[in-house]
Subunit: 281 residues, 2 copies
């Protein structure tokens, strides 16, 4: 199988490594940064560097577009223009609804692996990055079954667990399990930073955990927030409503309401974790 | 030195262990639960179990009240009634303003060690629980210097770093670095639990970190929230305002505003962590 990877950061590089070593694929790679492209070859993430995008995807059975969210739509369009009719073309972006409604042809199947948020860049690429990780796919009603199955079987060879999901549902879910946690982490970091008494030793493990992702890569996260605007706005509105409700209980000294709210959160988290058999511990 | 510990959970038990082994103290302990009291002795957390509170503190140079926040004020009053005139009496509660304005006599100095949030109970008590941990103290203008110094030197022997702070400032800070993170963790857990598509594998490390403390011990945290009501209400109002501001930028597709907000959070967290040389990594 011939695989093309467009964009050789952490995710693209790891796809290349895993495809070569686990799926015995011949991997052609393209990246607009020539130094990254050369490094990807040195690290064994690709067999062949392409001098331009069209050359890179010209004879691929499967193409993974691992460009930043902000450049995704344009890059996917360029790839579909250059890729063979038999190709399946996918991406690894964090939001899926906008791409699914962009009018791409039937070769495109949106994808989103849940992996690799903590680091970035080809230097951190790992063959086992997707081991056990959920990899969402958003095939449409028009998607040829052969292409969907080819993509799925390739992902399984990479070590991932492909899971089909409706793109709008994906984005609503990610707004709550990924994007909103970033919003809250930012709020917490900035509020704490404005307290003059915060000093050496006043930040415990709970604060560190809660703000772990605060201000993570500004460019990437600004793009993600904007690409999931409607779903994130709805999630923020839910949060504002819940916050107002807690405020009201606290303000009124309503101990039973506060306890019930807290207990509900306890049960909610326990249920979420019990249902989870995912890729992190 | 003779130390009394009232309430032998994780914190009280660890004070006993550290006082005996590190400060060569003779430790008398009291707990309303006879089984806990017996277990504390078995584990070496106390030299002598007291049959009632008055007997336990009757000849102590220093008394630590490690009762739950909801029972603190009453227990401290009982201890001050029974303790010798030479004693210093302290507590380990998470909020300090209400106690500081309760009209206790000059022997009382409020305290709050930043340690031990993750587990509870005498079984988890450790001699080194306070190693390197900030231990806030809130002496008043009337506090005899000898008592404040006796308490501080004892805390240093336990391995802690005593730090004096004004009680209101302590509570405003804790509202933002500890209590608000619990509020947000609860919101996130409950919002995610209402998304039908959340399933095995959809919860990544960022969600787990962000909700680590969601629904932690309902009884304890309801008491803590209520005991810090005014400061936490103010912190919640700040959050609601910041959330509305993010919502507005997102709704308007204001990329520069979102990027600036995100970048500010990045710098805020970096500054907070750079200033921190505390007890967790």
């Amino acid at each position: 199988v011939r695989v093309a990877v467009v964009g050789l950061g952490l995710i693209g590089g790891s796809i290349g490594l895993a495809a070569r070593r686990r799926a015995a694929a011949y991997v052609c790679g393209y990246d607009p940064d020539a130094a990254v492209l050369a490094r990807a070859r040195e690290l064994g993430a690709i067999d062949e560097p392409a001098t331009d995008l069209a050359a890179g995807v010209g004879d691929a059975d499967a193409v993974f577009v691992a460009a930043p969210v902000g450049a995704l739509a344009r890059t996917i369009a360029d790839v579909l223009e250059a890729a063979p009719a038999r190709s399946v073309v996918s991406d690894v972006g964090s939001t899926k609804f906008a791409l699914a409604t962009s009018g791409f042809d039937r070769r495109f199947i949106g994808g989103h692996p849940l992996a690799g948020a903590e680091t970035a860049g080809i230097e951190h690429a790992r063959e086992d990055l997707f081991e056990g990780a959920t990899w969402y796919l958003t095939p449409g009603a028009q998607t040829p079954r052969a292409l969907a199955l080819r993509l799925q079987s390739l992902l399984v060879e990479l070590g991932a667990r492909p899971a089909e999901i409706e793109p709008g549902a994906h984005d609503r879910m990610m707004a709550r399990v990924s994007h909103l946690p970033h919003v809250f982490a930012n709020l917490l970091a900035s509020q704490a930073a404005r307290v003059p008494e915060v000093s050496a030793g006043s930040l415990g493990p709970s604060f560190r955990d809660a703000t772990r992702v605060a201000g993570a890569n500004t460019k990437i996260w600004t793009d993600i927030f904007l690409s999931n605007r409607e779903a994130l706005l709805a999630a923020i509105d839910e949060s504002a409503e819940a916050l107002a409700s807690v405020r009201s209980a606290l303000s009124g000294g309503d101990r039973p309401a506060l306890a019930a709210w807290h207990q509900q959160a306890h049960e909610d988290r326990a249920r979420l974790l019990r249902e989870d058999s995912g890729n992190d511990s």
